[in-house]
């Protein structure tokens, strides 16, 4: 396997947002018209043209003082990707050998199933192009031996990219060294994500970071239960009526009754 992981060590991130710009530069995404709304987080949220966003969270502490947390938010590239399970078009959402979950926008029909099943609320629908966009883990770079643009540009070394096992080991070593509430986020759910975090604080401290994410139950019900059951139901009805016809026979009006 050639699986890769992007490790985001939040403890090292200074929110310089070089990654946010590098993402736009590599993916040729346009700048958005924004306003100063009373925070440094801008654009306010992920959009079809912003696939990578540094979220700023200010948390006043009970004992005085403040925590200012920064988190680079982008697609987690799940091994068990709910979006891929939900997508109706074959090959539209696909996974690369490295583990990148990519939307082929050529094939995308804008049904937004992926938008609504993603446990991390990542994909964004563009009402102008009627397509859905998200981070591709720079699959066009990593497939050619490069690292993703955001990792490439990260000055403090908070975003790194490498072989899965190595990055997981690094993540745990780092979390252990940080101590306290530090945790590793990413390997324990959806069969492991290809973007992982080292979080110095508890998961709930970070804006819009899902606690215990999973492929939604609804997706299993929908795709793994009802979908086959629908075939069964139709099949059973066909078989049933067939046997009804040959065993019980049709109901004919009494002859000469008219």
């Amino acid at each position: 396997m050639n699986e890769k992981v992007m490790l985001i060590d939040v403890s090292k991130c200074t929110a310089c947002r070089g990654c946010q710009v590098a993402c736009k530069q590599w993916n040729r995404l346009p700048a958005e018209k924004t306003q100063q709304r009373g925070t440094h987080q801008n654009p306010p949220d992920l959009t079809p043209a912003t696939w990578n966003l540094v979220r700023f969270t200010e948390i006043p502490l009970r004992e005085g003082g403040v925590r200012w947390l920064f988190r680079k938010d982008n697609c987690m590239h799940c091994e068990d990707a709910a979006c891929q399970r939900a997508c109706p078009v074959p090959g539209c959402i696909f996974k690369t050998a490295e583990g990148a979950v990519v939307i082929d926008t050529e094939k995308c029909i804008g049904c937004e199933y992926c938008v609504n099943v993603c446990p991390f609320e990542i994909p964004r629908f563009d009402s102008a192009t009627k397509k859905v966009y998200k981070c591709t883990l720079c699959w066009d770079r990593i497939g050619n031996g490069q690292i993703p643009a955001c990792a490439k540009t990260c000055g403090p070394g908070a975003v790194t990219f490498g072989p899965k096992e190595k990055m997981i080991a690094q993540a745990y070593a780092r979390a252990k060294a940080l101590g306290g509430d530090a945790t590793v986020y990413g390997d324990k759910f959806v069969k492991g994500t290809h973007v992982m975090y080292v979080l110095p604080e508890k998961v709930r401290m970070y804006e819009k970071l899902t606690i215990n994410p999973s492929v939604p139950v609804s997706v299993y019900l929908w795709k793994d239960f009802l979908k086959p059951v629908s075939v069964l139901a139709i099949g059973a009805a066909l078989v049933g009526t067939f046997f009804h016809y040959i065993i019980k026979g049709p109901k004919r009006p009494e002859e000469g009754g008219e």
Binding site: C16, A31, Q35, Q36, G38, G155, P156
Partner: protein, 817 residues
């Protein structure tokens, strides 16, 4: 930087104060993070909880402009708790030196103050000398006139209560910082300080840094790996700009500017060449004549001869007492003393303190040449807000120039590291590299002088200008940065021989016509040239040293001696002789910078090649010892707390001198242009304000405001304020407000944040706010205007850097989105 960027990773404790590296020097945090991974503690002291503070183990808030009180408290803490690195302090600093008995300090004033002239007569700020002319010392540090005792006496007043009252920092926080940082007094523990404009842009700017230098010396952190006093430069090449003296008071290589009273070269050299009688003091500046003569040779080439004082008379000079600093220049411009102005790669209409005054001043000009990548507020001042273009006579020429990646050349970063850069793409349209523009300009000016004469044409006509390959007609079609770099390095016109100290055998180290390998070979007889002596060794017979890309790290402490080239002589950590004992053993063997192996030095290039124990480590001062007591400054040998020009409290709690007694006041009769208004302790302007930068924009934003991706991140002028202040004023987060000072006003969006907290200053509540100075009216359309419309025209007495980090404002609600 005394040290270098990578070296931050070696520190045990990192103090960020007067700077915000996470935001303004983002790449520096790579090394801060590396240090923290190894267990280093990060301390951040700032009025505002910054992105740097967000990463710190210890954060303490202080009111803008009270750094000396804060650091003075730390000096007292060190001395009270005997946390000095004793041997280092006694042997390597001037702690043991005796000072003139007439030296005194009373109620905020040092001896020799002239109240009328707002300046000091510094004659009593001197060492006592013995019969041989060597400073007297008391290595027991007991003599009441010894510097250690004077220091103790001076900072005895900086007790915790008083410091807390002045700075607004809670006593617990002060102690946390003091305790955390002074851990590094142990010989094998090292602390570094990262500072920037948060320390310099004050009326006590130089003394802020002096205070930290004293702390670093007391703790034995100078010269060490992971130590030093590190100025983070706010621009990639501002170090190079300073080295090559883009300032009024120095000439290349940190040599003083000649004065009109220095009639001859000999007068100039006599006045500026320090002397010592102490055989153990290397007194490096004794070589100054060699550097000056080599510079004159570079300037005037063959026209510079021994007979004509090497062209010294052609060299520009200042009048006696003349100050030609930025603030004064624009003051003079406002008074109509200038005809024309080259705004070259700058945007004073937004970057200058009291920018409103500067914008007005430009209206007096006949012409302006704006050399820049983009249109800016300076070039377009004539159509700015509140300006009537029909009433402005100034003719403005815009010369588009190439960006850094559109031309070849070098930059010198904060590490003093000269790195060669290559051209990636051609400049767009008519844009040209600066060198090409200067070359064309010089050719034209020279032609005019040659054909039409004019006042004093010699300095122009005699200039040596060999910055490119010459065609058959003797002219240079295209200037070449390599030619410039070679001239900066310098060459010799005759063979240079060096005699071996033991064998007395002479060997030729440089042949006539060769590029020189080191400034050690520079001569004062006119046989060598060097455009900037500290760069001698950067472009040698072995080639362009700045273009080297060696990745070897033989010492393991990140010196990378084969990567590019750093001045002086590729010494990566200066004052490194202070990192070892007299015997040449490293204080901190784990991170040894240099060590004496019994016959020669190993490691970094040492500060002077002499064997261990032969010379004092601080070779750039004639006494060879680092100065706890520094007599050379305008405002006193010890840093003393004074309030900023505009401050929120009526009285300086430290003394009855409220303002730095040596600063030059504008707005007084005879100086200032009427636009220099100050209002201190005025109820109309009750808020302390500081300007700063954010990662997403750069300087006045001329480059970044034209970059949509960056405007997306930080689209508009903002003011950050505390929730408490917002509540008092009824201001909601994201709301439009007006920030006003005595000098002007600027619209901003309010960021109401937990990251500013009200201060308790002298038992009153004082609010502080902060604004970025990146915006300007040219673009983006709804971006806002410059924070410098609010800042005062006042400068540090030594450097004249404006006090834009502490002044008084008010905020008013404007409403609307």
């Amino acid at each position: 930087m005394t040290n270098h960027w990578n070296d931050i990773a070696n520190a045990d404790v990192i103090l960020i104060m007067g700077g915000n590296p996470a935001e303004n020097h983002p790449i520096s945090f790579r090394w801060v993070d590396k240090a923290m991974v190894k267990g280093a503690k990060l301390i951040c002291v700032d009025p505002r909880f910054t992105r740097s503070a967000a990463k710190a183990h210890i954060y303490a808030a202080l009111r803008s402009g009270t750094d000396i009180a804060f650091l003075g408290g730390m000096i007292k803490y060190i001395l009270d708790n005997n946390l000095i690195q004793k041997e280092y302090v006694v042997e390597y600093t001037n702690a043991a030196f005796l000072v003139d008995e007439k030296f005194d300090f009373q109620d905020g004033l040092f001896s020799g103050y002239d109240a009328k002239g707002r300046k000091y007569d510094r004659t009593t700020w001197k060492y006592q000398m013995d019969a041989k002319g060597i400073p007297k010392m008391d290595k027991t540090l007991q003599n009441p006139n010894c510097i250690y005792q004077l220091l103790q006496k001076h900072y005895s007043r900086y007790n915790l209560d008083l410091v807390s009252k002045i700075t607004g920092t809670p006593k617990d926080d002060l102690l946390k910082v003091y305790k955390g940082y002074t851990e590094t007094h142990k010989p094998d523990k090292v602390g570094t300080i990262l500072y920037a404009m948060g320390w310099t842009q004050h009326t006590v700017g130089v003394q802020n840094i002096r205070a930290m230098a004293i702390i670093q010396l007391l703790l034995g952190n100078m010269g060490m790996a992971g130590g030093g006093v590190n100025a983070l430069r706010g621009e990639s090449n501002v170090q190079g700009g300073t080295d090559h003296a883009l300032l009024f008071h120095i000439i290349p290589g940190y040599n003083p500017m000649p004065r009109a009273t220095d009639k001859t070269l000999a007068d100039f050299l006599e006045r500026n060449t320090p002397k010592t009688q102490d055989p153990k003091s290397l007194n490096w500046w004794k070589n100054r004549p060699k550097y000056i003569v080599s510079l004159l040779k570079a300037m005037y080439g063959a026209n510079a001869t021994k007979e004509n004082d090497f062209g010294y008379s052609w060299f520009p000079k200042l009048d006696e007492g003349q100050n030609a600093s930025w603030l004064i220049l624009f003051d003079q411009m406002a008074k109509g003393k200038f005809k024309g102005f080259f705004a070259w790669g700058q945007n004073p209409a937004c970057s200058s303190a009291n920018a409103g005054k500067v914008r007005k001043a430009m209206e007096t000009l006949d012409w302006m040449v704006n050399v820049n990548l983009f249109d800016n507020e300076t070039g377009s001042f004539w159509k700015g807000p509140g300006t009537d273009p029909s009433k402005i006579k100034t003719e403005v020429f815009m010369l588009p120039c190439a960006a850094s990646f559109e031309k070849e050349g070098s930059i010198t970063n904060s590490s003093r590291l000269m790195q060669w850069r290559y051209k990636a793409i051609n400049p767009p349209g008519q844009a040209k590299p600066d060198l090409d523009i200067m070359h064309a300009l010089y050719q034209k000016v020279r032609k005019l002088y040659k054909e039409k004469g004019g006042a004093y044409p010699e300095p122009i006509l005699n200039l040596s200008w060999n910055y490119g390959p010459k065609g058959p007609d003797g002219t240079i079609k295209h200037p070449d940065p390599h030619f410039v770099a070679k001239e900066i390095n310098g060459y010799t016109a005759k063979d240079i021989e060096v005699e071996d100290a033991k064998t007395k055998v002479k060997t030729v180290v440089a042949k006539a016509g060769e590029q020189l390998g080191s400034f050690a070979f520079l001569q004062d007889d006119g046989s060598t040239t060097s455009g900037c002596w500290i760069y001698c060794g950067s472009y040698t017979e072995r080639g362009n040293m700045a273009a080297r890309r060696g990745k070897a790290d033989p010492t393991g402490i990140g010196l990378y001696p084969g990567w590019a080239w750093c001045w002086p002589v590729n010494r990566r950590i200066i004052y490194n002789r202070a990192s070892v004992t007299w015997e040449g053993k490293p204080w901190d063997p784990k991170r040894a910078v240099i060590w004496w192996d019994g016959s020669k030095w190993q490691g970094d290039v040492p500060d002077g090649p002499q064997p261990a124990g032969d010379i004092y480590p601080f070779i750039m001062v004639p006494e060879g010892h680092a100065r706890l007591f520094a007599a050379g400054l305008a405002d006193g040998p010890f840093p003393e707390h004074y309030e900023p020009l505009e401050c929120p409290i009526e009285k300086n709690l430290m003394s009855s001198q409220k303002l730095n007694p040596a600063v030059r006041l504008f707005g007084e009769p005879g100086i200032g242009a009427g636009a220099d208004k100050y209002l201190t302790c005025d109820p109309r302007f009750p808020l302390v304000c500081s300007t700063y930068r954010v990662t997403e924009h750069w300087q006045t934003g001329v480059m970044t405001r034209w970059t949509p991706w960056l405007v997306e991140l930080e689209p508009q002028m903002f003011v950050e304020l505390s929730k408490e202040l917002a509540k008092e004023r009824g201001i909601k987060n994201g709301e439009r407000v007006v920030v006003k000072s005595a000098r002007g006003e600027v619209d901003a969006k309010a960021i109401v944040t937990e990251r500013f907290k009200p201060f308790k200053i002298a038992d009153q509540t004082v609010h502080q706010v902060g604004i970025p100075w990146h915006y300007g009216w040219v673009t983006p359309p709804d971006g806002g205007d410059s924070a410098n419309l609010l800042t005062p025209t006042i400068g540090d007495p030594n450097t004249m850097i404006p006090e834009s980090k502490a002044f008084m404002v008010n905020i008013e609600k404007k409403g609307g989105k």
